[in-house]
Every structure is written in C-alpha cells, then in structure tokens.
C-alpha cells in the first residue's frame, strides 16, 4: 500500500467519501465508527468500521491522520440475520392473529355453501355459480391453511404417489388457468412415489405453480409441469423425484437472479410477500433436496426440484443459472 493512493482500497462508487473525510480531518475533527465498505488486497468487499483521528504537530497544525479499520463483516452478517429473524417472527405473530380471524369465517362460508348446494330447488345457473364460489373458496382455504393455519395433519412423512397431489393442485387453480387462457401441459410419471410430509411437498409445488402463473401475461402463455422418477442430477445415486415447473413468462432479469431465494425479496409489488421462494427452498433443503432455476428474459423460467425418495435432513444446494 505504501506509495499508493488510499482510493485503491475504496470501492469506486464510494470514492466521493474521501474528500469529505479529508475535509473533516483538516478541520481537526475525529471520525468515529463510520460504517462503510472497503476492498481487500484480492478485491473482496468487506464491511468496516472506520475511526480516523488527526495527528497534530506541536503548534496544532494537522500533519497526518491515524486510521483504524475494524472488519465488521461477520458482525453485519449476524445483525442482518437477526433482523431477518425478527421480521420472520413478526410475520409469524401476524399469521397467528390472522389465522383465527380468517379461518373461522372461512369455515362458516364453507359450511353455508355446502348447505346451499344441497338445495335442489335452485336453478341450474345458480347451482353453477355456487359451484364456482365453492371452487374459489377452496383456493382461499388452501392458501389460508398453508400460510396462516397449522398443517399438523400433514407434518409426519408418509409414502405417497406424487402425481395425484400435483393433479389435485392443478385442479385447484384450473379456473384461473381457464380465465387467463393459460395452456397447461402435464407430463406426470404416475409411478413416482415419495416418503415425505405431503403438506410440505404440496406447498413447494403450489409456490412454484403460483409463481409460474404470476410470471405470465394477463392473457395467454404456457405452463409445463413435469414429474419424473429419477436420480439426483449431481451424479450421485440418490433416487427420488424430479419436478419441473416451466413458464413462458417474461423471465428473471440476471441482476435479480442472485436474490430470488432471499426472504422478503419480491418483484411482485402488489401481491408478493417475498417469502414464497425462500420458503420453497427452505422446505426442499430441509429434506435434503435441491432446487435449481434457469431463466431467460422474454423466453421464460424453469424451476427444477429434486426431492430424495427417503427424506433425509441434511445438505442441499440451490443452483441458479440465467
């Protein structure tokens, strides 16, 4: 560093800070615990806390400055994690409060619709309206159970055929597909089986399916769902199922891609919580699975999940390619 400009260790976008720091020192003032970013010898960015004191000669003139840089990268990471945890805890409390307020009226409306549909004196058109209302209510109930309620009955792993679970969920969203002229292609391996909690598998697929729908324009587009029995694509012998959900939507911008699995990161301004993909990846990882995404702007996005047949808690990877 000797003989080189101090700007060598300052990221280019922060170069304008240096004249301000020098002006402060020139006034004889100290800078204490200024949090900023600096570059290491290898060019890696690190968070630092900067303290700079002017060095004065016998007459009080400024002849230099003493700098102390503390690497606070870990500290910042811990603080960020804590902040995210607090946000999640707040969401949890909100969900618990909302659950009671939403699930009870939902139960009442579900029961009332059931009773209304039993009345055979109504006209054909009214029956059709009630059927649609019931289907829509199924969707709301499904979302409420997943996000607000408790999925206790599905928490234990069971051996199940995967294809009917996928078909049932596609049926839940069928009205939305029809309404938006979305063409849905299904290629489902009927023999594919998993030993896993059904509710959590359903939640993973539901999140990917909803994302695919949201990625499409308001009319038209294509969603392709593929389920295969197979092995992990990393070349290991682990057997399981591969699930692919592909859409012909606008794709994910390359600069957005690294952040899509972060909690509270969303590109769906009005409807996104920023929790869907984060939760999806958390579930897949919990059972030793892997999730990958490939996307091309204006072409579409493909999410692929490998879920091991025997759910094993442990290592997993989220891969991203654009």
């Amino acid at each position: 560093m000797i003989g080189r400009s101090v700007l060598t260790i300052i990221p280019p976008e922060l170069h304008s800070d240096e004249p301000r720091i020098l002006a402060t020192i020139a006034r004889g003032e100290r800078i204490e615990h200024f949090e900023t970013v600096r570059l290491t010898k290898s060019g890696t960015r690190i968070d630092v806390s900067l303290t700079i004191s002017p060095i004065k000669d016998d007459e009080g003139g400024i002849i230099g400055a003493a700098k102390i840089l503390r690497d606070i990268t870990e500290q910042k990471k811990i603080a960020d994690t804590l902040q995210r945890s607090e946000k999640l805890a707040a969401v949890g409390r909100l969900a618990a409060t909302m659950a009671h307020e939403i699930n009870n009226p939902l139960e009442s409306v579900t029961n009332l619709l059931y009773l209304a549909r039993k009345d055979h004196n109504m006209g054909e058109r009214t029956q059709e309206y009630l059927k649609l209302a019931d289907q829509e209510l199924d969707r709301v109930a499904h979302v409420a159970r997943q996000t607000l309620g408790f999925y206790r009955e599905n928490s234990a792993p069971v051996l199940f055929k995967v294809s009917p679970v996928i078909s049932d969920l596609v049926d839940v969203y069928s009205y939305r597909f029809r309404n938006r002229d979305v063409h849905v292609e299904r290629e489902l391996d009927e023999a594919a089986e998993l030993f896993a909690p059904v509710g959590e598998f359903r939640q993973v697929f539901s999140n990917l399916l909803v994302n695919a729908i949201d990625a499409l324009p308001s009319k038209g587009g294509r969603v392709r769902i593929r389920l295969q029995s197979g092995h992990d694509w990393n070349g290991t012998a682990r057997s399981g199922v591969r699930l692919t959900v592909a859409d012909s939507g606008g794709g994910i911008a390359p600069e957005t891609m690294p952040r899509i699995f972060e909690s509270f990161y969303t590109t769906k301004r009005d409807i996104g919580t920023g929790l869907g993909l984060w939760l999806t990846r958390s579930i897949v990882q919990k059972y030793g699975g892997r999730i990958q995404v490939r996307s091309r702007v204006q072409i579409g996005t493909v999410f692929s999940v490998f879920w091991p047949r025997e759910a094993a808690h442990g290592e997993s990877v989220a891969g991203i390619s654009a």
Binding site: A99, N111, L115
Partner: protein, 124 residues
C-alpha cells in the same frame, strides 16, 4: 352403518357451530351445539354423545381440557379436535406429551371430509 346416539359440536363461533349441526342433521345424525369447553363437559355428562367435534381455542375452557375432562367419565367417546390457529398446535403437543391422543383436523375443513372422518369413527 350404525349411527351414534349423538354428535356434540363445541365451537365459540356460533355460525360455525350452527352450520355444522345443520349439516350433520341433514345427514341423519342427531347433533347439538355448545359454545365453550365447560358447556361441552356439562352437556357430555348429561347426554353422553358418541362423537364430539370440538374447537381447540375457546373461552372459559379450551377444547383440549374439555376433551380430557370428558374422557374421564366417557372413555369410549370419539373426539375430533379442529382448529385454524397455530396456537392450538402447542396445546395439542403438550397434551400428547402427557399421553393423550386426539384426532386433529385443520380449519377450514370441507364438510364432506369431516363427514368421512365421522363415518370412519363410527365404523371403527
């Protein structure tokens, strides 16, 4: 299929309780609603229902305490707990750690699903 003497529905939401009772009656069951755990215990002691469909989070006495109390004098009764609140999961887990076992369903539950559970409980 043999139908039970009576189904008791306990829920502090009157519309949930009343509509469930109506659905059960239309299916040919004898059913009656109460609005809290303490009332469920009182009524069960008097009427000795075969099946109890019981909300978990209720005023005065929660559904789990009510279920435990009822089982003391009515050990053969089949109890289905249902709740839409995550808070209920903690209560149920604690009761299970004490050796109590319940059938648990998440609200909102479709009536035909609940009816299947009831039919299974009767034939069990």
């Amino acid at each position: 299929m043999k139908k039970p003497a009576m189904i008791l529905v306990a829920d502090d939401e009157p519309l949930v309780a009343d509509t469930l009772v109506q659905i059960l009656r239309e299916e040919g069951y004898e059913a009656i609603a109460v609005s809290d755990g303490a009332a469920a215990v009182r009524f069960a002691r008097h009427a000795r229902p075969g099946i109890i469909v019981c909300d978990v989070i209720m005023p005065t006495m929660n559904g789990i305490d009510a279920a435990k109390a009822i089982r003391e004098f009515l050990p053969e009764v089949h109890i289905i707990l249902f709740s839409g609140q995550a808070a209920a999961a903690g209560l149920i887990e604690r009761a299970e750690s004490e050796g109590h076992r319940f059938e648990v369903l998440a609200k909102p539950i479709k009536p035909d699903v609940l009816l299947k559970h009831i039919a299974a409980a009767i034939t069990a």
